[in-house]
Symmetry: C2
Subunit: 147 residues, 2 copies
């Protein structure tokens, strides 16, 4: 599988979030090689406590059968937090590709313990987006990770 196209789409979502004044984290859900849902963090834009990038992408993928999710790969620009990790485990998504995990190391060990394939690309675009954001809006970043 060529990660490039899909991580590009997740980064584009993160950049869109940045443009909207939000938290620059994006995600896409890929089903059998085709993007079926894309999204980005909506804390600022929708006043949402639950629409992290991954959750927004899952929501935008719509109602699907259990079998559908078993054929999905989730791409996210940042390591998934405990909530998004729980969503991945709940839907038994077998493969997660992560842009970077230096800004935040999420639930990767729990994912692996449940047999999820976890890849970290160490994508510099993802890192730069978060570095700039965390420096400019530290209080918003703390709110978003409940710290």
């Amino acid at each position: 599988m060529d990660h490039g196209e899909f991580m590009d789409a997740a980064v584009a979502e993160a950049v869109q979030g940045q443009r909207e004044g939000g938290i620059p984290i994006g995600s896409v859900v890929v089903h059998n090689g085709k993007i079926c849902g894309r999204g980005h963090n909506q804390r600022v834009q929708k006043g949402s406590a639950i629409l992290h990038g991954e959750m927004d992408a899952l929501e935008n993928a719509g109602r699907q059968s259990a079998a559908f999710y078993r054929d999905c790969v989730l791409y996210t620009t940042l390591s998934p937090c405990a909530m998004c990790t729980g969503a991945i485990l709940f839907y038994k998504i077998p493969h997660v590709v992560i842009g970077e995990n230096r800004t935040l190391l999420g639930g990767e060990e729990l994912l692996k313990a449940h047999g999820v394939r976890v890849e970290v690309l160490d994508d510099q675009r993802c890192l730069e987006l978060m570095k700039k954001f965390a420096a400019e809006k530290p209080e918003l970043w703390k709110e978003d990770i409940a710290e």
Copy 2:
């Protein structure tokens, strides 16, 4: 703390979901003794993959600080799934009160392992709602628990 009033409110949300033709699971978030968010499963009503009762209640509680959630109790009519468990852990909600866990046993052990106080009331109203629902709409129930 008197659980009665708050579990009554969660049950009322579940009943509202049932009336709407949805999945009868409800939840309320209580902050310092006052309900700050209430909700019910929105899979049918909003075509949502992520708005379980607990997630809907958290979303309706709005954007809050990390400190806010430390003073919350989450009430839910059914044992929380892996996704909702992840959300509770993410926000470090210290106390969860569950109507019943016979229909589905969710992430209670993971919650306890992280120091969350978990109480199960074995509430007959919650059990009856789910028993009726699962008998009448088994395919919808399977979809909602990704099985």
